[in-house]
């Protein structure tokens, strides 16, 4: 039984944690929150330089060639420090899609730029959940037309992988026929944009079953985002716990009241359950196990719930000061909600988990 990360993997995690603690400070994250920067460029560059962002991209394509376990721990730290970087859009989604669906030539063309930080890429797959129906994307084999309504990091990306029907299409965003509109978001540290294409030159990725690749990429992203969520949840619980030891009321540290102790114990329990599911997802992802769809959905639901609860109760535990702009609590509250819906809602993933369980029991 060895259901844990190795010492070497933990060393990488420690290095990333140290770097992020120094560079992804509250002040730096707020630069993006308050609109003074599109993303934390220095943090992103450091993650690239350390080989952390491209941990799971093979060396042949310019990556560090480590693996998914390493990337999971990078994700945990990114979540913990609220890193305002395009890690999920560029690495978990676009990089994964290119690796899984691209031809050898396509991989050689696009992946090294991503791995080395020269290109920020993003991706969006067909979602079954929507508020408005946009003009759908269409692709005639050469040109892309229509609207991608909520593309993560769409305003800063140079490249996008988009699902159009059964195809995955790769399109450069700096050329003609692309109109970007940065959209105001509930978590400005993770920006979204609408992109309209008007006959934009594009090409399909090699894989014939784009929907299957998209599902597989989303499974990987679910596991990786679960690590971000666990990292964020653990951090806001720490902040609330620390505050409860400083703050006094009725002549006592508020953290000595059982109502608060039990609330924090319950949050901790939720986080550790989510962490266990995330580890299982990491195992399934890294060993390419047939359990991946079940493990990924479970990690997604458990970690989404854990971060939402930790962020909501994190504010509650702080009392009045917790809902001020100056306190960081709302950064976690915003990020928890952002991550909860980025690749499909908790409800959709819970339904997917049930599908897998029932299928397995058949």
């Amino acid at each position: 039984m060895n259901f844990d990360f190795s010492d070497d993997q933990r060393l990488l995690q420690d290095a990333v944690r140290t770097m992020l603690a120094e560079n992804s400070t509250s002040q730096v994250v707020r630069e993006v929150l308050e609109g003074r920067a599109t993303h934390s460029a220095k943090v992103w560059q450091n993650l690239i330089d350390m080989g952390a962002a491209a941990a799971a991209i093979p060396e042949a394509y310019g990556g560090a060639g480590l693996g998914y376990l390493e990337l999971c721990l990078v994700a945990e730290e990114a979540g913990r420090h609220l890193a305002a970087v395009p890690l999920s859009s560029c690495i978990y989604l676009a990089g994964e899609a290119l690796q899984r669906a691209g031809s050898e030539a396509q991989k050689r063309r696009w992946l090294p730029g991503i791995a080395q930080g020269e290109v920020i890429a993003t991706a969006a797959f067909t979602s079954t959940e929507r508020y408005r129906t946009p003009s759908p994307l269409s692709f005639d084999g050469q040109r892309l037309t229509g609207t991608s309504p909520v593309l993560p990091d769409g305003a800063i990306a140079q490249l996008a992988v988009l699902q159009v029907g059964k195809d995955l299409v790769v399109v450069e965003l700096n050329g003609p026929g692309v109109r970007r509109t940065a959209l105001p978001t509930i978590d400005p540290t993770r920006p979204l944009a609408q992109i309209e294409f008007a006959g934009t030159p594009a090409e399909t990725l090699e894989a014939t079953d784009g929907a299957a690749v998209a599902a597989r990429v989303l499974d990987a992203a679910a596991v990786l985002l679960a690590f971000e969520q666990v990292g964020g949840a653990a951090r806001i619980l720490e902040l609330a716990r620390n505050y409860s030891l400083e703050r006094k009321a009725f002549g006592r540290q508020i953290g000595s009241f059982q109502a608060l102790k039990h609330k924090m114990a319950d949050i901790y329990t939720r986080i550790e359950l989510a962490r266990a599911h995330a580890y299982y997802g990491a195992w399934a992802l890294s060993s390419d196990a047939p359990e991946l769809p079940r493990a990924a959905a479970a990690a997604r639901v458990a970690a989404t719930r854990a971060f939402l609860i930790a962020a909501e109760e994190g504010i509650e535990l702080h009392g009045g000061i917790g809902f001020t702009w100056e306190m960081d609590c709302h950064l976690y509250y915003r990020r928890a909600r952002h991550l909860a819906q980025l690749i499909g809602s908790e409800h959709a993933w819970r339904a997917r988990l049930a599908d897998e369980l029932i299928k397995e029991a058949a």
Partner: protein, 409 residues
């Protein structure tokens, strides 16, 4: 990261499998119980015979040192043995307290001649041990023990009552926490003893549980005499001795609550009907199945993390308290939902329903006890809050107060 045995673990597992195949009897159906159809005495005799066989092969106390009669193995080997033994018809919970609490306390605190007297027969199942800590007025608050031990020459005279004592009705000896000094603060006036449960003045009454079972007993002591050589640790050192006993529990990773109840929900939802369709097609039912899995598999994965720590020679920490907290509550929620799936027929007792309802209703009736025994949900939340998260302990009004004064209020 993997779920595989190390080469040494795999070799040990093979050895255990070979021994069990040669000596044990495999379960033929999942809910088959040891000694079905036998009366209590015959069942106990069969259990003792199995324990003797196990002891002679060294498997009765795998992690004990050799000089104490153990195998000198690791806690992980102990777990591997238990995993393999689970497929066999073996006695449950009869020798757990002997091997896990009573005898380790004797091993740690008793004089050499007492170890020589008790360890071998205990290991071999010839004598069964109980743990006598809880009292009617000392449940979660174990330090409030009121059973009185008064010195009389070379002996101690015991008066009082214990409760929740497993196996006492067929037990031979117990480790007994008693108050020897009423003028010291509560935890400082306690002393631990070995008590002979067959001695004059010991009366044992089974407790009839809400499930219909009787797994526990009340034990009454009236002028029971214990020789001073049966004292474990110093006079007034009982609290420390008890903590050393409970530390042993940390190595029993995971406990014995089920972690696959969600599978029963899937099976049931296929046959039960909701809104004129199989319940399994209902989105609400599917969501409940998913949530049941999240708790059950989550516990099982946390246990795997604890086992990983054991496998690396570390002791799992207090964070393992999560497993019982989640598993016991999940046991209640999942079994309740199973009954709900069946509609009005879910109100019938298992005898009227057949199938695996006996098992599911046992979970339902057993879950309230599971949420209390071995630490209530509330005590476990305090353990997590204080020992894992480092939050302050409860405000106490009983510290540094002579127990005599507390007892009066």
């Amino acid at each position: 990261m993997d779920f595989n045995d190390s080469p040494e673990e795999a070799a040990f597992r093979e050895e255990v499998r070979g021994w069990l195949a040669a000596n044990g009897r495999r379960r033929t159906r999942p809910d088959e119980a040891f000694g079905e159809g036998l009366d209590e005495a015959a069942k106990l005799a069969l259990a003792k015979a199995w324990q003797a066989k196990k002891a002679s092969a060294g498997y009765a106390a795998i992690a004990w040192p050799r000089e104490a009669g153990g195998m000198g193995g690791t806690a992980m080997q102990q777990v591997i043995y238990q995993q393999e033994e689970a497929a066999y018809l073996v006695p449950q919970m009869i020798f757990e307290v002997s091997i896990g609490m009573g005898l380790p306390t004797v091993m740690r605190w008793a004089a050499p001649e007492l170890k020589a007297r008790f360890l071998r027969p205990g290991l071999a199942g010839e004598e069964i041990w109980c743990q006598l800590f809880s009292e009617p007025d000392a449940g979660s608050d174990t330090g409030a023990v009121r059973t009185r031990a008064v010195r009389d020459g070379d002996e101690w005279v015991i008066n009082g009552q214990k409760v929740w004592t497993s196996s006492a009705h067929f037990g031979d000896f117990g480790i007994l926490l008693a108050r020897t000094d009423w003028d010291k603060p509560k935890q400082d006036g306690l002393t631990m003893f070995i008590v002979d449960l067959k001695a004059p003045g010991v009366e044992i009454r089974p407790i009839h549980q809400m499930s219909g079972d009787s797994e526990f007993n009340e034990v009454f002591f009236t002028d029971v005499r214990i020789p001073d050589q049966y004292r474990l640790g110093p006079e007034g050192g009982g609290w420390k001795v008890m903590l050393s006993t409970l530390m042993q529990e940390r190595l029993s990773v995971g406990g014995n609550l089920p972690t696959d109840l969600h599978r029963h929900l899937v099976d049931l939802a296929r046959t039960c009907v909701w809104d004129e369709r199989p319940a399994i097609e209902d989105a609400r039912v599917r969501a409940r199945i998913a949530d049941a899995y999240l708790d059950q598999q989550g516990v099982s994965l946390i246990i795997s993390r604890g086992l990983t720590a054991l496998s690396k020679g570390k002791t799992p920490g207090p964070e393992m308290s999560i497993t019982k907290l989640v598993a016991a509550k999940a046991m209640q929620e999942i079994s309740s939902f199973a009954m709900e799936l069946a509609g009005p027929e879910g109100l019938l007792a298992s005898e009227a329903l057949g199938g695996n309802w006996r098992y599911l209703q046992r979970q339902w009736l057993g879950s309230p006890g599971a949420r209390i025994a071995g630490g209530t949900d509330e005590v476990l939340r305090n353990v997590i809050a204080e020992r894992v998260l480092g939050l302050p302990g409860e405000v106490r009004t009983d510290r540094n107060v002579p127990f005599r004064e507390l007892d009066r209020t």
